[in-house]
């Protein structure tokens, strides 16, 4: 033992505390303050395109469209086994149980405010160029787009950050307009630029036109009671009258004509988002992929996602026999399915009966459980016709209407009825219904019209076009129960601003909508 040396080395006995502080002082080495930018006239185009890109994004199924549709009776996205849970995002929208951390609320907030910011960038920098007719036109288009994005932010969140285009000190939090201030700002902007905007005949409905400003003014006044606490039906009617009397717009006798592929201009369109499946526009609008079952593949469309469906509550309001808007079969030969509502046994392009992945027949049924459904649960909706020969299956070949003339007839009918002019409302509704017949289908004329009839008609005409939540709120029906949703609290008519936004702008009210 005497040779055994036991050496104990205390190699390290340390008590330590580390504090990490990060001083985020920015050192700007170089900044493009427009020196070369404004010398090249080609850059004017480059400045006006970004806010149009934000407009396109609102009509993506997962963006603004989702907040206006999945929260209502028109769209339901049940979780089907391992598909479509997505952190509860879709269930929460349907059940009205979202919190301010909801990913969609955050993404839409960020996207729309980015749109405002892009429009401001366009207004400010195009203003630095030598001014001519082109720069003036684009500045006015950008001012419309800024007003449009602010209108949407206000509709969703009822508080809108605003920073003037020439306010470049970004260390100051933008001021926040309350709902009335925001809608008044939007209205005054629209009135100011409207006389200077081009017409649809001059520039097409994929650009901002005088008609787009009239349509947004009609919508702003129709909803003014919600946004500003005061009814302004006559103002809504005034702008509808201007649009309806314009030769640029007409309700089509073929409802489905505007939803076919490769339709560029259409008599119904007031403002549209242009899409082209041959162009990479950064966003796609997968209007068939997202709803079709995995087995419903055809042509070059080989990836379908089995997602959004409609509720039985909405489905059961329809006159399925007589309304041309319920069903159209012109794409059956190349797709295997119809436009409108997809219910019952589904078929392939060659008429074969399709199956689910577990071998059971693919029969779409209205019954479902929001939290755990089978693959065939839910009636599907196809509004836009795909291009089976497309080389880019995740890009739609359809121009998507943001605002169209049939909506304006319905706005006028509603404003007239709310203003005490029931015969005028009936005339407008029946005019629209007279255009919604098809071969072998005659939609009956109404003999009297109630507010409930108008809401129903808006559903028939405009379903899945990103308008439903706004409509249900205006008619006081947003919080009512429908399939897989109980009655919900009135506070749910306003979305809370995302936590990430409230954290950085002390002027926002984090408790609104909670």
């Amino acid at each position: 033992m005497k040779h055994n040396k036991i050496i104990l080395i205390l190699t390290g006995l340390s008590l330590f505390g580390v504090i990490g502080c990060t001083d985020l002082e920015e050192n700007v080495l170089d900044e493009q303050l427009g020196s070369n930018l404004i010398n090249d006239p080609n850059n004017v185009e480059a400045l006006i395109n970004p806010p149009y890109g934000s407009l396109r994004k609102t009509m993506e199924w997962y963006d603004y469209w989702a907040l206006q549709e999945v929260t209502t009776d028109e769209v339901i996205i049940p979780t089907r086994g391992t598909d479509w849970y997505d952190n509860g995002a879709w269930q929460q929208l349907h059940l009205h149980t979202w919190t301010s951390d909801h990913e969609r609320l955050k993404n839409v907030w960020d996207g729309l405010n980015q749109g405002v910011s892009r429009a401001n960038t366009a207004i400010y920098y195009i203003g630095l160029f030598p001014q001519d007719a082109t720069t003036e036109r684009y500045i006015n288009e950008a001012r419309f787009l800024r007003a449009y994005f602010m209108y949407l932010i206000n509709d969703l969140y009822r508080q809108v950050p605003y920073r003037a285009a020439d306010e470049l000190d970004f260390s100051i939090s933008p001021e926040v307009y309350n709902s009335k201030q925001a809608i008044d700002f939007v209205i005054s902007e629209l009135k100011e630029i409207m006389p200077k905007l081009k017409t649809k005949a001059e520039v097409g409905s994929d650009r901002v036109t005088v008609g787009a400003a009239q349509a947004l003014l009609a919508k702003a006044y129709l909803n003014y009671e919600i946004y500003g606490g005061e009814a302004k039906w006559n103002d809504a009617i005034t702008y509808c009258d201007q649009l309806i009397s314009s030769p640029d717009y007409a309700v089509s006798t073929d409802y489905w004509s505007m939803f076919q592929k490769d339709v560029a201009e259409h008599s119904e369109f007031i403002l549209r988002v242009g899409n082209d499946d041959n162009l990479d526009l950064g966003t796609g609008a997968v209007w068939v992929n997202f709803t079709l079952h995995y087995s419903q593949i055809f042509g070059n469309i080989t990836s379908t996602w089995n997602g959004p469906s409609t509720t039985s509550t909405f489905f059961n309001t329809w006159d399925k026999e007589n309304d041309a808007r319920f069903y159209d079969g012109r794409i059956m030969d190349v797709c295997g399915f119809n436009q409108g509502f997809l219910v019952g046994q589904q078929h392939g392009v060659n008429g074969e009966e399709l199956k689910q992945r577990n071998g059971e027949p693919l029969i779409f049924v209205p019954e479902m459980n929001l939290g755990s459904s089978a693959e065939n649960a839910g009636i599907r909706v196809i509004k836009f016709a795909p291009n089976p020969e497309t080389q880019n299956q995740f890009r739609a070949p359809n121009d998507v209407p943001v605002m169209r003339i049939s909506d304006i007839y319905l706005i006028r009918a509603e404003a007239k009825l709310r203003n005490g002019d029931a015969p005028g409302a009936l005339t407008d509704i029946n005019f629209l219904r007279s255009k919604r017949n098809a071969e072998g289908k005659t939609l009956p004329q109404l003999t009297a019209v109630t507010l409930d009839d108008i809401l129903k008609e808006r559903g028939y005409e405009l379903y899945w076009e990103g308008l439903r939540r706004q409509d249900l709120i205006r008619f006081g029906k947003f919080t009512e129960a429908y399939q897989e949703k109980p009655v919900t609290d009135a506070v749910r008519t306003i979305f809370p601003v995302p936590t990430s936004a409230a954290d950085v702008n002390e002027n926002l009210d984090p408790n609104l909508g909670k």
Binding site: H3, N4, K5, I6, I7, L8, I9, L10, T11, G12, L13, S14, L15, F16, G17, V18, I19, G20, C21, T22, D23, T79, R80, G81, T82, D83, W84, Y85, D86, N87, G88, A89, T97, D101, E103, R357, N358, N369, G371, S372, S373, A374, T499, S500, D503
Partner: protein, 263 residues
């Protein structure tokens, strides 16, 4: 100006002993233990999300947060309470019947430890290295995305446990504490056995040693994935995550036979 603090308090203890030191026999033993407590303080926002889950039905799912009063790497989500009679997941709820989210533990271990030893007997030498962690959680994203009954219904392969379970194929694979597992482990990392030849009689040869090494020989853990010592990148908006496992390739067991010759 906010001064966010990421506070680490801990203690590290290392012991190395030469237990036997004779001419033809020696024995070294070393032990290391580190305990660390991490806590985030003064974060000017309520929370920062990270840990982006992968797989179908998991879009938008973020499993980890950085928030005040908790260590970094804290998992956050609903608390799984088993399957109901229909094979549908049930979760802990509050008095209003709303599913509650809780802190589900951190990917940072309570303590880490290692043990090394080396024995030399005449021309033979032997060394061994063990290490492990205690108290860290791992998110088994692989199981969350693939090993559920719904995946079997789609025609995917699943584990035997999933095959036998009463889970309903329509059950959602929502992220919850169901997929947060104890990542504690003890690993026999390395064993080397060597023999040094007597080279005095060979003038041109300086030294010659033959050895056999085995790496990653044993692993003791309750973790059901391949390997709890895993961290697949799943950053959100550039905020790094930790303790994420999604189809990570397991560590191989390797054997090496070698000869060292010096001239």
């Amino acid at each position: 100006m906010f001064l966010t603090r990421n506070l680490n308090n801990g203690i590290e203890l290392g012991l190395n002993g030469l237990l036997v030191d004779k001419n033809d026999f020696s024995w070294d033993l070393g032990f290391n233990l580190a305990y660390i407590k991490n806590e985030v303080k003064n974060l000017p926002v309520q929370l920062i999300e990270t840990g982006v889950a992968s797989g179908q039905g998991l879009s938008g799912t973020r499993v980890q947060i950085i928030t005040n009063g908790q260590p970094v790497g804290t998992f956050y989500g609903t608390v799984y309470q088993g399957l109901d009679a229909n094979g549908i997941s049930t979760y802990k709820k509050d008095a209003n019947g709303v599913e509650v989210k809780e802190y589900l533990g951190s990917a940072l271990p309570d303590f880490t430890y290692s043990l090394s030893t080396k024995l030399q007997y005449k021309k033979l030498d032997f060394s061994m290295f063990w290490y492990g962690t205690q108290g860290n959680k791992v998110y088994n994203n692989t199981a969350n995305a693939i090993f559920i009954k719904g995946a079997l219904d789609k025609g995917f392969n699943v584990t035997q446990e999933v095959l036998k379970s009463k889970e309903n194929p329509s059950n959602s694979n929502a992220f919850s504490s169901r997929f947060i597992e104890d990542g504690s482990f003890i690993r026999l990392s390395n064993i080397t056995l060597g023999y040094t030849f007597d080279t005095k009689s060979v003038e041109w040869l300086g030294n010659a040693r033959l050895y056999v090494t085995g790496n990653n020989l044993l692993l003791f853990t309750k973790y059901t994935g391949f390997d709890p010592e895993v961290d697949v990148a799943a950053a959100a908006n550039g905020v790094p995550s930790t303790g994420m496992d999604f189809t990570a390739y397991p560590k191989p067991t390797t054997f090496t036979i070698g000869v060292n010759i010096q001239f």
